[in-house]
Structure formats: structure tokens, C-alpha cells
């Protein structure tokens, strides 16, 4: 695809598990991300959902090469990041920035807002030192903070304001892609709305591409153009936001959608909830075949042996070999 800005091809991130104190031996592998192929278009918002432990945060960190990929390639703007030198990687990071979940942990408590926002500008020599002050003030205005707070420390701000600082820091280098890992999960409802509005407004006005990772489907549906659903390191369904949430095809997506409580008492009373049995299996010892078969109400024998590929179905891609049979 020529209009894609970020392309992942069969990305895998595996972690060795060792045992023993002095003589470590390898006892297994956690396949946190196990073969993800995705593209992110220019100006597109891609939502990535899944339960905890499904590998969505590991995928985000792998894209930024904060964690090295075990296999597969990440192509940003035509450049293969997996084969870059450290210097090229640093240059590429200008185009690829991240916003983390917890604004209490992701900001350095010893840096003022000015320090946090000026650092990327100085490291990447974006502008001469004399213009840094003006640029920082501009960034603060973009994310809706008054520039007079520039000398304050993170602890003097509320959670929502801290997340705004984190977003401003990500914007400092005018990146083309922002990866936001659960940027609103730590915030209250009324503050969450402010940050969601800010992110979607930034995407529109600055033509940013955004990968938005969250476990809250209603938030993801609201902000995303397309949605990818992950389960145990693989993508099980990928398609337009409304298609995936309103007409889910994969049994896991169906269960996930039916599990979200809606703030409408009449809908809640009528609806048939698909309650999945058990917990997600451990990625250390994933089930053979389709990793969802242990909890799937439609599983058959062949689901236990065949790994289903993502195939086009009903206007999106789904990884289930029994499509159309239930």
C-alpha cells in the first residue's frame, strides 16, 4: 500500500523464560506477540483492543523498538526499522512517538513542564535554543494548557493535565505517527472525554496517524476508523470500527462486545450476554491450533489443530476457520 505510513509484517516478540538461580536455563517462551501483520494509513486512527496479557502493549513497544522484535519487520514511511542502525533509528523516532498509560509514571518528576517539552527539541536539534521557549509555549497551547504553567512540576497537575503534557511531549517533534497505549484508562469519565476530544482533534488538524490501544471497546469505537482485536498475541479480527463493534464476526469479538455493560437500563435488561468460561490462557503455554478454542462456544476438533489465518470475510478480516458455520 502506497498510502500507508506504518506497516507491520508478521511481527513476533518472544520472551525467554528462565529458571534456576546461578545456572539459568531456558524453560519456555512467552509468545507475547506472535505474527501480527497490520498497516496504518496516513491520517488514520487504528484502534487496538484486547484483554490484559494479549500482547497489545508489547506490540506497541515493539513497533518503537523499545523491545526488539524476535522476527518480522516494521516499516515506517518506507524505511525498515528492523535493519536500521542506531543512528537511523533515532532519526526515525522523530516520526514515531508514544503516549503511555499512566501519566503519573511517564513524566519525570524532577523535570518541569518546560524541561519535559524542551528535551526532545534539544536532543533532535529541531530548533535553535533561542526559539525553544516559544515552541514549548505553542505546544502547551495546542494541548490546552496555559503557557504560564511552564515552570511547574508534574505533581502540581491533575491526571488529565499530566496526560496533556505527555501528549504535548509526543507532539514536540511533529511526528507522523503516535502510538497511544491506554491513554485514558487511568482517567475519570469527564476527564477522559477531554483527552479523547483532544486526540481526535489533533489527528484531524495535524494529519497524524494514531494507533490507539485500549481495553474499553466503547472508547475505541468512538475514536477509531478501523479496529484490530487481539487475543493471545494474534489478531483475530480487523476491520472498520462500526463493522467490528456492531456486527462482530469472530466468536471472541462477539463475546467481548456482549460483555461491555452499556449505560442503558432497557438494553441491559433485554440483552443476551455471552459469558465466556474461564480466563484467557497463559501465553507461556498457549493452546494448540486456534488459541481461543478453550473458551470458544463454537469450537470443533479441527480448531484444536489448525491455526486459523486472517481471511477476508464480510468486509473485514477474521481469523476463524468456522466462519459462516454458526
Amino acid at each position: 500500500m502506497s498510502d500507508s505510513i506504518l506497516e507491520l509484517r508478521d511481527v513476533r516478540t518472544h520472551f525467554p523464560v528462565t529458571a534456576g538461580f546461578l545456572r539459568k536455563r531456558r524453560v519456555g517462551t512467552v509468545k507475547a506477540v506472535d505474527g501480527v501483520t497490520l498497516t496504518l494509513g496516513r491520517g488514520e486512527v487504528l484502534g487496538l483492543v484486547g484483554e490484559s496479557g494479549c500482547g497489545k502493549s508489547t506490540l506497541a513497544r515493539t513497533i518503537l523498538h523499545l523491545i526488539p522484535a524476535t522476527a518480522g519487520t516494521v516499516v515506517l514511511n518506507g524505511r525498515n526499522l528492523s535493519q536500521c542502525s542506531a543512528r537511523e533509528l533515532k532519526a526515525s523516532r522523530r516520526d514515531l512517538q508514544m503516549v503511555f498509560q499512566d501519566p503519573y509514571a511517564s513524566l519525570n518528576p524532577r523535570l518541569t513542564v518546560f524541561g519535559a517539552l524542551a528535551e526532545p527539541l534539544l536532543v533532535h536539534k529541531v530548533c535553535p535554543a533561542s526559539e525553544v521557549g516559544a515552541r514549548v509555549a505553542e505546544l502547551m497551547r495546542i494541548v490546552g494548557l496555559a503557557p504560564r504553567f511552564v515552570r511547574k512540576y508534574p505533581h502540581e497537575f491533575s491526571g488529565g493535565q499530566r496526560q496533556r503534557i505527555a501528549i504535548a511531549r509526543a507532539l514536540a517533534l511533529e511526528p507522523k505517527v503516535i502510538i497511544a497505549d491506554e491513554p485514558v484508562s487511568a482517567l475519570d469519565v469527564s476527564i477522559q472525554a477531554q483527552i479523547l476530544n483532544l486526540l481526535s482533534q489533533l489527528c484531524r488538524t495535524m494529519n497524524l496517524s494514531l494507533m490507539f490501544i485500549a481495553h474499553d471497546l466503547s472508547v475505541v469505537k468512538h475514536i477509531s476508523d478501523r479496529i484490530a482485536v487481539m487475543y493471545l498475541g494474534r489478531i483475530v479480527e480487523l476491520g472498520g470500527a462500526l463493522d467490528v463493534i456492531d456486527r462482530p464476526q469472530h466468536p471472541y469479538t462477539r463475546a467481548l462486545v456482549s460483555a461491555i455493560p452499556t449505560p442503558d437500563p432497557d438494553v441491559e435488561r433485554r440483552r443476551q450476554r455471552i459469558v465466556l468460561p474461564g480466563d484467557p490462557p497463559s501465553p507461556l503455554n498457549p493452546p494448540a491450533g486456534c488459541s481461543f478454542h478453550t473458551r470458544c462456544p463454537h469450537a470443533r476438533d479441527r480448531c484444536r489443530s489448525e491455526i486459523p489465518p486472517l481471511v477476508p470475510h464480510a468486509g473485514r478480516e477474521v481469523a476463524c476457520i468456522r466462519l459462516g458455520e454458526f
Binding site: A193, A259, P265
Partner: protein, 324 residues
């Protein structure tokens, strides 16, 4: 007579940085078998309300400044410690938000599970274990016989929350207080736990107070909902009226800011500003500084809950005056 009747509860924390009024005059009552949802953002005082009723506020720095909480004729806030102990854990139990920290990591699940029985009932260890086993099975733990002697860390988050629920319900309480029991869990596991609480409530006929910040969770589970803001109740109504016809500006704003209640991609309504600093005394309506309808009178007079419909009360002066 209601099962629980809380009147004008005031709890504050006296710290070096000042007095934090966490709960500032909360009144509500609960009938037998009823489910009450308490919703609010962090710091609105919903958890402190529950901890105060249970007598779990650390004192100092906490202090119950006033009010009563009458459970079946006994004022839990002013009775003897002996009376509290005979009620708490037996007739009123509580489940907490984080099952990772609320179970004792040093004790086997069996020990913690039957502890309430050993304390409150004249029962032998052996028959207590038998009841513990039954309880674990009824909350959906497979091979409970084997797992009962495991330690908490051997269970997953959802399973730990099931153990917590089994522990709370083992004495067949008349009132269960659930403080954000599903917040730390994934959605599919949350669905399991909500169904479980509903089923157990049907079986035991207990009343439930369900504290959450998630309006979605409340709508399917509760008969009545009360919305808290800055330590006060701003609106209380049966679930349907609260969602269909909210009257208080804060409730309305909260609902308009939830993505799932808005068309996709539409700009979300945002309540401007931040919740008030609880260490500063609030004059008038606590929501006035953020309210688009606030008038002069709102900043001067403290609003009281007043009925706007059958079973529907709210605390906004201008709504009460019929101005909005």
C-alpha cells in the same frame, strides 16, 4: 423499616495539609433485597461512605464527624465495638476493588475463607471447611476440593475475586457492600463476576450496595442509583429514570461525556474544570464552579436533595426552582 438507613453521614480526614471533607452529609436508605448503585468520579466520597458504614476508616486521621447509619435498628456508628463485630462480617460483608491486595498472601485460601464462619458461628473446623467448599463451588471455581488449600497467588485475578465473593457470602449476609469489585478485571471476566453477583443475590436475597465509576455496570445491575459529587449526593433515582431523564446538571454532563452514549466520532461533551479541592470549605453548590447553569444563588446557598418525581430526588437549586 429499611434494612440500612444512613442519615447525614460526615467523614473527614485530619491531615497535616488540612481537613479533607471526604463525605459531607450523605443520607440514603436501602430496603431488604434492593440493589443500590453509588456512582461518582474518584474522590467523590463513594468508597469512604462504605468504609464509614463498615467502621473501616482508620481513626486517626479519619474522623466520623456526625450522622447515623442504622442497620436493622442498630446504629453502626455509635454502638459498642462488640455490637459492630457481631454484625460486620456476618450480617454485612464487603468485597473490595483489588483482589490482589485484599487477600492475605500468607494464608491458604481455606483459612481465609472459613475465618468468618469460625468467628461468627459455633461450628467445627471440619464442617466449616465443608461449607467453604460448597461456597467455592457455587461461585464457580472448578475442582474446588483441590484449589481450596492453594495460596492466593496461585489464582488468577478473576478467580481471586470469586474467592473474595465466596468469603463475603459464606455467612449468608443480609447486606453486601461491593466497592468497585470489577474495576481491576478484564471485560469478559467482569461479565462473569457481574453475573455471579446477580445470581448469588437471587439465591440469598441479600441487599447490595454497588460502588462504581462505570455507569454501564450500574445500569444492568441496580434498582436504584445515586450519583455523588465532592462528598455529597447530587441525584438519586430508580435506574431507569436516572438514565432516561437525569435532572442534575452533573449527571447530565457525565452521561453526555460517555462515548457509548454518543454517536460515533461526535465531539464529546466535556465538563470544564476539575473537581473541587476537598481540603477547602465549599460554599454553596459544590458543582457550581463547573456548571454551565450556575447562578449567583448557587454559590451562596447549599442545595438540599428535593424530590422532582416519584422516588427521584436531586440537589440543584435551579432545577428545583423550575428554571432549567
Amino acid at each position: 423499616m429499611p434494612l440500612l438507613d444512613v442519615k447525614d453521614l460526615r467523614t473527614s480526614f485530619h491531615t497535616r495539609d488540612g481537613i479533607f471533607r471526604a463525605v459531607d452529609g450523605v443520607s440514603f436508605s436501602l430496603e431488604r433485597g434492593e440493589t443500590l448503585g453509588i456512582v461518582g468520579e474518584s474522590g467523590s466520597g463513594k468508597s469512604v461512605t462504605c468504609y464509614s458504614i463498615m467502621g473501616l476508616i482508620p481513626q486517626p486521621p479519619g474522623r466520623i464527624e456526625g450522622g447515623t447509619a442504622t442497620f436493622d435498628g442498630v446504629d453502626l456508628l455509635h454502638c459498642t465495638p462488640r455490637q459492630v463485630r457481631s454484625i460486620r462480617g456476618k450480617r454485612v460483608s464487603m468485597i473490595f476493588q483489588d483482589p490482589m491486595t485484599s487477600l492475605n498472601p500468607y494464608l491458604r485460601v481455606s483459612e481465609q475463607l472459613i475465618e468468618p464462619l469460625l468467628i461468627h458461628e459455633k461450628i467445627s473446623r471440619r464442617s466449616a471447611l465443608g461449607r467453604g467448599l460448597e461456597m467455592l463451588e457455587s461461585v464457580g471455581i472448578h475442582d474446588a476440593g483441590k484449589r481450596i488449600h492453594d495460596y492466593p497467588h496461585e489464582f488468577s485475578g478473576g478467580m481471586r475475586q470469586r474467592v473474595m465473593i465466596a468469603m463475603a457470602l459464606i455467612t449468608r449476609p443480609e447486606l453486601l457492600i461491593a466497592d468497585e469489585p470489577t474495576t481491576a478485571l478484564d471485560v469478559t471476566v467482569q461479565a462473569q463476576i457481574l453475573e455471579l453477583i446477580k445470581a448469588m443475590q437471587g439465591e440469598l436475597g441479600m441487599a447490595v450496595i454497588f460502588v462504581t465509576h462505570d455507569l454501564g455496570v450500574v445500569s444492568g445491575l441496580c434498582d436504584r442509583v445515586q450519583v455523588m459529587y465532592a462528598g455529597r449526593v447530587v441525584e438519586t433515582a430508580d435506574t431507569r429514570s436516572l438514565f432516561r431523564a437525569p435532572r442534575h446538571p452533573y449527571t447530565i454532563g457525565l452521561q453526555r461525556s460517555i462515548p457509548s452514549m454518543q454517536p460515533k466520532g461526535a465531539e464529546l461533551y466535556t465538563i470544564p474544570g476539575l473537581p473541587p479541592d476537598p481540603s477547602l470549605a465549599i460554599s454553596g453548590c459544590a458543582f457550581a464552579p463547573r456548571c454551565e447553569f450556575a447562578a449567583e444563588s448557587c454559590r451562596a446557598t447549599e442545595p438540599e436533595l428535593a424530590e422532582v418525581g416519584p422516588g427521584h430526588s436531586q440537589a440543584c437549586l435551579r432545577v428545583q426552582a423550575g428554571e432549567i
